[in-house]
């Protein structure tokens, strides 16, 4: 078997002295889409932050391997340059920094520090913007500054389309998107899901999974994965909620 792109082993994580992740195990192979579902506050975003190396989250046990390399000691930017990326649940605003300048700088940073010739860059950017239905005037606006919730999510996927990472965590990208936007953004995500990439989709609802078909669905509860299955699992969750998972766990 090929080496997994991302392997998380018995991961325990603390924030401000409080344990939030309590033994996460997860393997993402190339070509796979995984959905991660779970109640509010169960630790999904925490997992996404830890994968990206947020300095406030302390790994107390376990490890994260990217292509078999332990990345625990790597800073956030080093992970990004290796090919990890996160589409944020709550993207932050950077006033005064235009989207186009930002995209140009980050594209260069994640492509080995080499400037993409400006013409090529523009062409690639325009194509991606058209696909995702991002209006031209977004380019001269400041990053996430005054953007609506749905616009921010589109912008996150636009960024990933330009950065071309191999492992992507998408944290509730579907929330805030209107019905039409959900379709266009989902097809953008499908374009990112290639044989060489792996995607972890964090979501609360079935609706995005109708467009982006996951290979695996995991249920997250109290800082760990408590159930895993195929696409049918998300349908069951949509219909029955989380109570049955909790019950099965208490019985077992």
């Amino acid at each position: 078997m090929a080496t997994p792109l991302l392997k998380i082993e018995d991961l325990h994580v603390e924030v401000d002295g409080k344990e939030i992740l309590k033994g996460v195990n997860l393997t993402l192979n190339a070509g796979e889409v995984h959905a991660l579902m779970g109640r509010n506050g169960s630790g999904k975003s925490t997992l996404s932050y830890v994968i990206m190396g947020h300095p406030n989250y302390k790994v107390t046990k376990g490890r994260i391997l990217f292509k078999e390399q332990d990345i625990n000691e790597l800073a956030t930017d080093e992970r990004a340059r290796l090919g990890l990326a996160l589409a944020f649940q709550y993207p932050v605003a950077i006033p005064g920094v235009s989207v186009s300048n930002f995209l140009r700088a980050t594209t260069k940073a994640t492509r080995g520090g080499v400037d993409v010739p400006i013409k090529e860059f523009r062409k690639e950017l325009t194509e991606n913007m058209d696909k995702l239905g991002v209006p031209k005037d977004f380019l001269s606006r400041y990053i996430n500054d005054g953007f609506s919730g749905g616009e921010k999510k589109r912008l996150e996927i636009l960024q990933l389309s330009m950065l071309k990472p191999s492992v992507m965590v998408l944290d509730e990208t579907d929330s805030g998107l209107d019905i039409d936007a959900l379709k266009t953004v989902s097809s953008g995500i499908n374009a990112l899901a290639t044989k060489e990439t792996a995607i972890l989709l964090i979501t609360h609802y079935q609706r995005m999974l109708n467009y982006v078909q996951p290979d695996f669905v995991h249920v997250f509860q109290d800082g760990r994965i408590v159930a895993s299955g195929g696409p049918e699992l998300s349908t069951k969750l949509e219909e029955q909620g989380y109570d049955w998972v909790t019950q099965e766990l208490t019985i077992a």
Partner: protein, 476 residues
């Protein structure tokens, strides 16, 4: 414009403190260098060498008297001010025989210096006229032929006095009298160089005129004097830039800048100051805006040891507008004490003050501002906004806003914020592959963007680059 500014995070980043790009120095090869310290004899010899009229010599000697009598300011960074050793400073250095109109005729060493600073190149590309001052004197000067034909005068101040004595005498020191403060008195006594600009009625100088100031010698005092007169309905944009070498002991830069915008005229004055960290920068800048005139100070303060600078605008005619847009960047052992002074002396006048400052590595920034509205100045609108960004716990920012409003029919807005570079902002930027330094520089450039976008593109790019240099090594 924002979209066009190429931000390049991979520019070679070095610490400006250790490796200030403009910190090189030339061998001293001067026509004349005064002894250290200040005496009436030195003042007299400056005036004599310049073949000045008697009234100017009298003005200088009177100013020297005022300087000697006036105490040091009792506010601002008094501790740093006390360290100025007036006895140790060279007050006048003449680097060459005369100001040249042809770049080729400028002495070789000085020419090389300005070449390194990119001056003639900038002129070819986007300037209507250039003055280059080295130590006390302007060594090169040029203005586009079409402007001369329209009657625009752009000269160094000494030539201005020689060639247009009547205009100079009528306006000189009318906006900033010698007795205004200790440093304006000092400048009045020993002034040399600077620019003299006169724009005839209705003439609009669409592309900027620029002056470049360079200090080379150690313990040098540079005291340029600039006077800009815009006749009714005219427009001019003037840009100045400044650098100096790094020495272990301090130099002093103390300019006086007077602007007169006659009815309906518009003056924009842009400064990109990037002194090395051993320069005291104590500058008096003041403008008068007559009826329906507009004056803008766009003031960028990087570098220097201590800067005390509060560009002022006196709105003396009905409908006049004044704007001060300033940014300051303070690093280790630096203090940028900057601000604005607006005087509303006529009805329906408007002022906008926007001040943005950044402190890092224990650096200090202060905003010191005054808005004064005289009785009878009805319908005045004034807005003061100060934003400070702190890059670490050791750094400091203070605001000292004063409002003296003696009229009821006035609309006043005031807002001050202090913020820290957000951890979440840095995490976001770094998650896209930018290093911590690049991420910080990006947040800082973004913070300054309202300022940068007011600059001609070339200066905006340069300012962003300077900020990037300043940011190196700031992340622990």
């Amino acid at each position: 414009m924002a979209a066009e500014l190429a931000y390049d995070p991979n520019t070679n980043i070095r610490d400006i403190g250790d490796d200030y790009k403009y910190g090189f120095k030339d061998k001293e090869d001067y026509v004349f260098k005064s002894g250290r310290g200040l005496t009436p004899e030195i003042v007299e010899s400056i005036s004599k060498m310049k073949k000045e009229p008697q009234w100017m010599l009298d003005f200088r000697l009177n100013a020297l008297d005022i300087f000697n009598k006036k105490p040091m300011p009792t506010w601002g960074n008094t501790k740093m001010l006390e360290d100025i050793d007036f006895e140790n400073i060279y007050y006048y250095i003449k680097p060459s025989e005369k100001s040249e109109k042809n770049w080729e005729d400028v002495p070789e060493g000085i020419k090389k210096t300005f070449d390194r600073l990119g001056i003639p190149e900038a002129e070819r590309k986007f300037l209507a006229g250039v003055t280059a001052q080295y130590e006390s004197e302007v060594v090169y000067h040029s203005i586009r032929e079409d402007l001369v034909k329209q009657g625009v005068i752009f000269l160094d101040m000494d030539s201005g006095l020689r060639e247009h004595e009547e205009i100079v005498r009528k306006h000189f020191a009318t906006v900033i009298p010698a007795a205004d403060n200790k440093f304006s008195a000092l400048n009045s006594a020993v002034w040399s160089g600077g620019s003299f600009i006169w724009v005839p009625e209705g003439v609009k100088v669409e592309i900027p005129l620029q002056a470049y100031f360079r200090i080379n010698a150690e313990n040098m005092g540079q005291f340029e004097r600039t006077l800009i007169i815009a006749e009714p309905g005219s427009f001019v944009h003037y840009i100045e830039g400044c650098t100096a070498p790094i020495y272990s002991t301090d130099s002093l830069h103390s300019a006086v800048v007077e602007l007169i915008a006659k009815p309906g005229a518009h003056i924009r004055y842009t400064t990109i100051q990037n002194w090395s960290r051993n320069v005291y920068n104590l500058v008096t800048k003041r403008a008068v805006a007559e009826a329906n005139a507009k004056v803008e100070w766009v003031d960028g303060n990087l570098g220097s040891k201590l800067t005390m600078k509060y560009p002022a605008i006196y709105l003396t005619g009905e409908g006049a507008t004044g704007e001060v847009l300033s940014v300051a960047f303070s690093g280790h052992d630096q203090h940028q004490d900057a601000g604005a002074k607006i005087v509303h002396a006529a009805p329906n006048t408007t002022s906008i003050v926007t001040s943005k400052s950044i402190s890092k590595d224990g650096g200090r920034t202060s905003y010191r501002g005054l808005v004064k509205v005289y009785p009878g100045a009805t319908g005045v609108k004034t807005s003061v906004k100060c934003d400070a960004l702190l890059l670490d716990e050791e750094s400091r920012s203070d605001t000292y806003p004063t409002m003296e409003i003696d009229e009821k029919d006035v609309s006043v807005e005031h807002e001050a914020t202090v913020s820290k570079v957000g951890e979440e902002q840095l995490f976001y930027l770094m998650s896209r592959g930018l290093t911590a330094d690049e991420a910080k520089a990006m947040v800082v450039n973004g913070f300054f963007e309202p300022f940068t976008k007011e600059l001609p593109l070339e200066y905006a790019v340069e300012l962003n680059r300077l900020i990037q240099l300043e940011m190196e090594g700031s992340v622990g």
